[in-house]
Structure formats: structure tokens, C-alpha cells
């Protein structure tokens, strides 16, 4: 398991990926069954080589092999074992290797689960994935080699940024990357469809589960990142509209649009060209997001080692992947046949509206993120775009989206009338009005009031949707229960995911009412915030494994009764000369009490401490809602129709266009 073997395995993976790109694609073009048949084997072989390479790097990290410069720069003997392992992907080189590994897993997954695909389509999809993988493995080998050695090897490593030594962040990158890279599969399907010149209902059905799976991981990854910044950074915030955060939100928005427009392709064979473009666009955003952040173009608080030379390689690679696929799109898409027509008031019409709103949101976030560097390049002006712009521009687009979300799942396909649907949603509308009244009374600000009303609308209409489908209250309860069992899992998944959005939005509305105060008090003093009495009862110094902590004890009482005792800490890491705040959060799922200890002032007799106290209503709901969304997605993946009934293509014969 030496680093050299790891590098060799990576080079082997790269060679296999290249073969995986060339052989099946040319085989599919020439209709050579033998060449097409090598695709799955190569994809699995590439995965094995990558996995071995990755294990070598983990082995080097666990055994403290500081002759590997990547380990020497990011690890230390005193680092806990968990972080030695997770630290492997906590830096640029290791994360690129992880990225390639996940892409390898995607290729192997298509090889393993794609048995019911037509041979040529499967060969093309695997081939395209191989081509993308080869590019990034070459990038890893030539400009970001994680196995590079240094001589003489240091006795101990430089250690890892203590902020990153956290279980939440340890598993954030793999989940987020699985989301990003997962969109490579819909991308490959889209490019394959363009090469074949054919998009039909079956294609829509094949693509959708991959898009849903990637979307679930991306949702979890974004939520985990936001949760981490909430409980680690100690600012009480959860989203900062930072370029790195936006880079994950942009593909999430376009991926959400893709997931929905693929439904229209599957059911009605419409929106085909648009869906292909979304599939290409979503992966392009994932790629540009992850890699442009590293080139240093975007001004972000998340530090990566910036290297313009690396940036040029990445840009070349992006030009090849994105430029190539979009050129193919410009060339082939006009020859794709248009699909069925539908009236604006129909399920398809609602899904189109969903796509328009989601893509507008995506454009807004993209503009806000890219505006500063482009202004700087074109006009030499330095500006920054922040929260006020994003809040003002996204909320007016999000609210109609929530309104549509409630209606669309109950709308019949093709042609529908609005009135019967709305009548069935009476109960949900009443719930929304009640929520509006309650929040008008309890919440400050117009947007939070509207947001919470719409959130209740989304949840209530999802419940109504399921209740209508199982004829609850209209038939005996046992019959309804039986219907629930027979209900397709994708319908239940949709309802759950939509309700999850509602839960998240409720959380966001609640957080807009958060209260906080910064105080400087001595031990024994009490502060009053949000109906609670916060008493600083004790502060002491506590030694940790690789830090010393200033640990406070805060008693929180409500009407004289103790609600919680908090132990926030401020940790000083000696190796990195850095301090971190260890936030103490007490949650009852309805609200978070959040305490941070800052600096100490004065001499021993008159010592005071700076405390930051927050009261965050409904904060946990933001991440809980994201989890519910992902659960809904996973549930719909387990739908029988996706797993078993392999859709058959109607032979088209002469209409079949072949590129080449």
C-alpha cells in the first residue's frame, strides 16, 4: 500500500478510463457488439483501480507517512484517527481524487444497474462517463498529485485546520460530491441521446432515477454544509450567499428543474430538447462550481490553495466537456422531433411553470455570484453582491413556485380545468389562511409572513394530495389504508419531498425572527433574552487532546425553572496558533438556544467575558426539511416501476438518425 502503488493505480485508472471512452463509443458507432460489450468491464476495472489508489492515500494518512507532502501539510501525529481518514479529502489533491473515485462509482453503477438499457445506449453512456473521468484523472496526476513525496520527510505534519476537525464537515464532501458527480450520469445520457439523435419516453424514464439520486445527495450535502456553518462558525448564521455555497445551490436548482422536466419527457414525450439541455447544464454547473472555486477566480471565504496553472488545465477540461457537449447540442438538437402539445392548464403546464421559476432562480443566483468578477474584468470596478440582493431577488420567485408546488401534483395531464383542482385543495387553502392570520399576529416582516403561509400551503396540499389519492374519509378507513399500500411510491415520495420544502421554508421564516445579543458580563451575572434568563455561573480552563479550552457554564432559566445548562468553549489550538469557538446549542426542535463564549477582559479580580447569546426559533426545521426532501427522493427511487418494468422502445426503423 505504498504511495507509489497508489499513483500507479491512479495512472492505470486513467488508462482504463481512456479505453472506456474510446472503445465503447467507437463500437456503438460501428455497431460492433464486441467493442460495446467491453464497456461494463472497463468501468468496473477503473473503479477497482481508483478504489485501490484511494485506499493507498488513506493508508498513508493513517500510518502518518509524512514523506508524502500532502499528508505532511494536512495531518499530524496528534490528530484523532477519524480526522486522519476524513482529512484525506479535506484538501485540494485528496478531494480531486475523491471526485474521480465517485465518478468511477457512477460509471460502475451504470454498468451494474443499466442491464436493461439498449446495448448501444449503455455503451455510449459508459463511454462518455469514461471520457470525463479520464480528463479529471489526468488533472489529478499532472497538476494535483496527492502522492507527491518530499525529502527530507518532517518528523510531524503541520496539522489540519481545527475548524475542519468536525464530524459534520468530515462527511460533507463525500455526500456533496456524490451529488455533484451524480449529475454526470444524466449528462452522459443526454450526450448519448444527442449522438443517437433520439429522445423518447423510455429515455426520460432511464434518466430520471439517476437525476433523483444525485439530487438527494446534493440536497443532503448542501444541508450538511449549512448545518456545519451554523454550529461551528458560531455566527448564528446558516447561509451566507458565499460563492462556494452558491456553487452548490446553482446545480441544485437546475437539477430540481431537470428532475421535474424529465417527468414530462417520460409521461408525455414533451420538453425533450429542454430536458437534454438541463441535463447538460446541471452537470456543467456542478463542474464549473467545484473547479472554478479552486482556481481562485471567485472571491470566497473558503480557502483553497489557488494556483492559476491549475486553473488553466481546469478551464481546458471544462471547455472540452461543456463546450463539446453544447456544440453537439447546437448541432443535433434541432433535428430532435418535437413532442406532444398540451394546454397551459395541465400537469405539463404546471411543470413548465416550475421549470421557468426554478431556472429564473438559478439565473438570479448565477448572476449574483458571477457579477463581481465580471464587473471587475470588464469595467475594472470592484463591487460585491450580498444578502440584500439575493433576498430581494429570490423570494419573489420562490413564492409563486411554492404556490404552484401545491397545485401541480393534483393536476391531470394534457388538459385540465383549474376549478376542480382548487376545490379539492379547499382544506389546504383554509390551512394557509389560518397560517397567514397566525403569522400576521406573531411574525415581524412581510416576507416571513408570506413565506410561512406558503410553507403551510405546500405541506397541507401535499397531505391533501395523498388523502385524495387514498380516498380518505370518503371510504372506510381500512379501504383507504389498503389504497395507501397500493399507492405508487413515487407519488408518496413527491408528496413527502414537497412537504420537506414546506418544513424548510417554515424553518427559514422562523429564523428570520431570531434574536441575539452580545454581552460582556462577569461570572454570576444574568442576562435577559427572548423570555429566558441566561446566567453565567462558571468559567474555567480545560485541557483537551491538542488544544486548551476556555469553558463557560451558562444556566438558562425560564420563570425561575432551569431549562438548560450550556457549556460553550473557546479552544486554542497550539499547533496552528488558531482558536475555534465551540458553540453550545440546546434544542427542543421548536427553537434553539445558542451560546458562544468570546474573549475575556480585565484582571483576575474584575474579569468579564464576552458572550454571544442567540434565540433561534425553528432553526432545526431548515435541515430537517432538507432531510425530508431527500427521504422523499429516495422513496420515489424505490418505486417498483423504476426498478423492474424496463420500458421497451418502440422500434423506429427508418426514422432513426445515426451520427457519424
Amino acid at each position: 500500500m505504498s504511495p507509489e502503488l497508489g499513483r500507479f493505480a491512479l495512472a492505470l485508472a486513467c488508462a482504463l478510463a481512456l479505453a472506456q471512452a474510446v472503445l465503447p463509443l467507437s463500437g456503438a458507432q460501428r455497431r460492433d457488439a464486441r467493442l460495446m460489450a467491453v464497456a461494463p468491464g472497463l468501468a468496473i476495472g477503473q473503479l477497482i483501480a481508483l478504489a485501490y489508489s484511494f485506499l493507498c492515500l488513506i493508508y498513508a494518512a493513517v500510518t502518518d507517512d509524512f514523506s508524502v507532502s500532502n499528508i505532511a501539510e494536512n495531518s499530524a501525529v496528534s490528530k484523532p484517527l477519524l480526522y486522519k481518514i476524513t482529512g484525506v479529502w479535506g484538501n485540494h489533491e485528496g478531494s480531486v481524487l475523491l471526485w474521480a473515485l465517485i465518478l468511477g462509482i457512477c460509471g460502475a453503477a451504470v454498468a451494474a444497474f443499466g442491464r436493461n438499457l439498449p446495448t448501444a445506449l449503455r455503451a455510449r453512456v459508459i463511454g462518455i462517463l469514461g471520457g470525463v473521468a479520464a480528463g479529471f484523472e489526468l488533472f489529478c496526476l499532472t497538476t494535483s498529485d496527492p502522492f507527491d513525496r518530499i525529502w527530507p520527510a518532517p518528523m510531524d505534519g503541520q496539522g489540519m485546520n481545527p475548524l475542519l476537525q468536525d464530524p459534520g464537515l468530515a462527511f460533507h464532501p463525500p455526500i456533496l460530491y456524490t451529488g455533484y458527480v451524480g449529475f454526470a450520469v444524466p449528462f452522459a445520457f443526454a450526450v448519448a441521446a444527442l449522438i443517437e439523435g433520439r429522445v423518447d419516453a423510455a429515455w426520460g424514464r432511464w434518466v430520471r432515477p439517476w437525476a433523483v439520486a444525485a439530487w438527494c445527495f446534493l440536497t443532503c450535502g448542501i444541508a450538511l454544509g449549512s448545518w456545519w456553518s451554523y454550529y461551528v462558525l458560531g455566527w448564528g448564521g446558516y447561509w451566507f450567499w458565499d460563492p462556494v455555497e452558491n456553487a452548490s445551490l446553482i446545480p441544485w436548482l437546475s437539477g430540481t428543474a431537470l428532475m421535474h422536466s424529465a417527468i414530462v419527457v417520460e409521461k408525455r414525450e414533451a420538453l425533450k430538447i429542454w430536458t437534454v439541455l438541463l441535463a447538460i447544464g446541471t452537470f456543467s454547473f456542478s463542474l464549473s462550481g467545484t473547479f472554478l472555486v479552486r482556481s481562485g477566480i471567485l472571491n470566497s471565504v473558503h480557502a483553497f490553495a489557488n494556483d492559476p496553472a491549475r486553473g488553466v488545465f481546469i478551464l481546458g477540461l471544462l471547455a472540452l466537456v461543456i463546450g463539446g457537449s453544447l456544440t453537439l447540442f447546437a448541432w443535433r438538437a434541432p433535428s430532435l422531433t418535437a413532442g406532444g402539445l398540451f394546454s397551459p392548464v395541465s400537469r405539463e403546464g404546471m411543470l413548465v411553470l416550475n421549470n421557468i421559476l426554478l431556472c429564473s432562480l438559478c439565473a438570479v443566483v448565477l448572476t449574483g455570484t458571477m457579477y463581481p468578477p465580471f464587473m471587475s474584468l470588464l469595467f475594472g470596478k470592484t463591487i460585491s453582491v450580498g444578502k440584500p440582493f439575493f433576498d430581494a431577488a429570490t423570494v419573489p420567485l420562490a413564492l409563486p413556485l411554492f404556490a404552484v408546488m401545491g397545485i401541480a401534483p393534483m393536476m391531470p395531464w394534457k388538459r385540465a380545468r383549474m376549478w376542480p383542482v382548487l376545490r379539492r385543495l379547499q382544506a389546504a387553502a383554509i390551512a394557509m389562511l389560518v397560517a397567514l392570520a397566525v403569522s400576521l399576529w406573531g411574525l415581524k416582516g412581510v416576507l416571513p409572513v408570506l413565506a410561512s403561509a406558503f410553507a403551510v400551503w405546500v405541506i397541507a396540499s401535499s397531505v391533501t394530495d395523498i388523502a385524495t389519492r387514498i380516498a380518505l374519509f370518503r371510504e372506510p378507513f381500512s379501504r383507504s389504508l389498503g389504497r395507501l399500500r397500493g399507492l405508487s411510491r413515487s407519488a408518496v415520495g413527491t408528496a413527502i419531498a414537497h412537504a420537506g420544502v414546506g418544513v424548510t421554508v417554515l424553518g427559514l421564516a422562523g429564523m428570520s425572527q431570531a434574536q441575539h445579543r452580545i454581552v460582556e458580563i462577569a461570572v454570576g451575572q444574568t442576562e435577559h433574552l427572548a423570555g429566558y434568563d441566561w446566567t453565567l455561573t462558571d468559567v474555567r480552563t480545560r485541557p483537551g487532546p491538542n488544544y486548551t479550552a476556555l469553558a463557560a457554564r451558562i444556566e438558562i432559566r425560564r420563570k425561575g425553572r432551569i431549562v438548560a445548562v450550556m457549556h460553550p468553549e473557546k479552544r486554542s489550538f497550539n499547533a496552528q496558533n488558531q482558536t475555534t469557538t465551540e458553540v453550545s446549542i440546546h434544542t427542543n426542535l421548536l427553537s434553539d438556544l445558542y451560546g458562544v463564549i468570546g474573549d475575556q477582559h480585565g484582571d483576575a479580580a474584575h474579569r468579564t467575558y464576552v458572550l454571544r447569546l442567540h434565540y433561534n426559533p425553528l432553526a432545526p426545521w431548515m435541515w430537517l426539511g432538507a432531510l425530508v426532501m431527500a427521504l422523499g427522493g429516495f422513496l420515489s427511487l424505490s418505486d417498483r416501476r423504476i426498478r423492474i418494468a424496463a420500458p421497451r422502445r418502440i422500434p423506429v426503423g427508418t426514422a432513426h438518425v445515426d451520427a457519424g
Binding site: 414533451a270 420538453l271 425533450k272 430538447i273 429542454w274 439541455l277 447538460i280 447544464g281 456543467s284 472554478l292 482556481s295 481562485g296 477566480i297 471567485l298 472571491n299 492559476p308 496553472a309 486553473g311 488553466v312 478551464l315 471544462l318 471547455a319 461543456i322 463546450g323 453544447l326 456544440t327 447540442f329 447546437a330 438538437a333 434541432p334 418535437a338 413532442g339 402539445l341 413548465v352 421549470n355 458571477m370 463581481p372 468578477p373 465580471f374 471587475s376 474584468l377 470592484t382 463591487i383 460585491s384 452580545i518 460582556e520 468570546g598 474573549d599 477582559h601 464576552v610 454571544r612
Partner: protein
């Protein structure tokens, strides 16, 4: 959407070519940014970084912030010795941490404070509690002047050379000894 019956095949072709054209434009821009970064002509991290070496941005006299007096950019330019302009706020923890360093620094260089996005009563309470290192204190209630200065967050300090040029800048607190050493080196250079 693209599946609606399209008016003419050529327009359809043009429409389908739009994405690649847009991506190409973005690609060229990124390439220029990258080459600018390696040659030093383009620095995205300049965003929010005030130009050291340039003149103090123009601003009208800011209102007084109790217990000090406000000032204008003209007054800053008229100074014959260096002045440290310090943006602070009562709501910022690093500002409290920085105070001790400011109280020591006031013996070497006059400090003019600007309360950034702060309620006047909060800011004056903060100074009463933490001590007053400032010669003058102005209130930038809306943070408008701070935008022209390129303040990205508080505390942020600027050393103004006689005549009104920004000689030095720190986007962090002065409680960091390395930052203070850098400041005193600049001060020495100015007085030499």
C-alpha cells in the same frame, strides 16, 4: 419551451446554438481572468480591498457620535501627521477584543473612529464600557461612507498619511501583534 411548434428551422438552429455561445463567452472571460491573475493585472480578491496608495474617498461631514465629534474627508486631508481611521461597531466581538490595543496605540498615533451601522446610543454605551481611544468619533449609521472606503467588515483600520493618502490598511483587528508591528513599521516610514 423548445417543443412548441417553432417558427422556422433556421431560428430554431440559432436558438439551439445560444447555450454554446454563452458558455464560450464565459469561457473566454474566465481565461482572461486566469491569465490576468498569473500576470498580476487581475485580482478578484481586490473586491472590497481599498486601494492603498490612493486618496481618502470624498465624504461630507459625518454626524457626531457621542462622546466625540464627527469629521469630513476634507478634515482628514488637512492633517499634518498620520491619522488612524478605525471603523468599529458595538455589535462586533472582534471590536471589543481590539479595544485594548487601540487604547495603547492612541499614544503613538491619533485615532479617529467611525461607528459603522450602529445605533448612536449603543455605540456610546460601548465606548463608555470599553474605554475611549478616539480623538474624534463619527457615526456612519447607514454604512454608506464605509462602502466607498471598501470596508468589508468591522473592525477595519486605515492609516492616513499627511495629505490624505491611504498609507496602510488592515481588514482585521489590531489586537494581532503581527498587524501592529506592520502598522508601526509603516508609521516609522511615514515619519522618516
Amino acid at each position: 419551451m423548445s417543443d412548441q411548434p417553432s417558427p422556422s428551422p433556421s431560428r430554431r438552429r440559432l436558438l439551439m446554438a445560444l447555450p454554446v455561445v454563452a458558455a464560450g463567452g464565459a469561457g473566454v472571460a474566465f481565461w482572461r481572468m486566469l491569465s490576468g491573475m498569473s500576470s498580476g493585472t487581475f485580482n478578484p480578491h481586490d473586491i472590497n480591498a481599498p486601494a492603498t496608495g490612493k486618496a481618502v474617498p470624498e465624504f461630507e461631514r459625518l454626524p457626531d457620535q457621542d462622546p466625540g465629534q464627527g469629521f469630513s474627508s476634507a478634515e482628514l486631508r488637512l492633517q499634518t501627521s498620520p491619522v488612524l481611521v478605525n471603523f468599529f461597531a458595538s455589535w462586533c466581538i472582534p471590536c471589543i477584543a481590539e479595544m485594548q490595543a487601540l487604547l495603547e496605540l492612541r499614544n503613538t498615533v491619533p485615532i479617529w473612529g467611525i461607528a459603522y451601522k450602529d445605533k448612536p446610543e449603543n455605540a456610546s454605551g460601548f465606548i463608555r464600557r470599553a474605554g475611549n481611544p478616539y480623538v474624534k468619533i463619527a457615526s456612519d449609521r447607514q454604512g454608506r461612507v464605509a462602502i466607498d472606503w471598501g470596508v468589508s467588515g468591522v473592525p477595519e483600520s486605515f492609516l492616513i498619511a499627511p495629505g490624505g493618502g491611504i498609507a496602510w490598511h488592515s481588514a482585521g483587528g489590531l489586537d494581532n501583534s503581527a498587524v501592529r508591528a506592520d502598522l508601526s513599521a509603516t508609521l516609522k516610514r511615514l515619519s522618516a
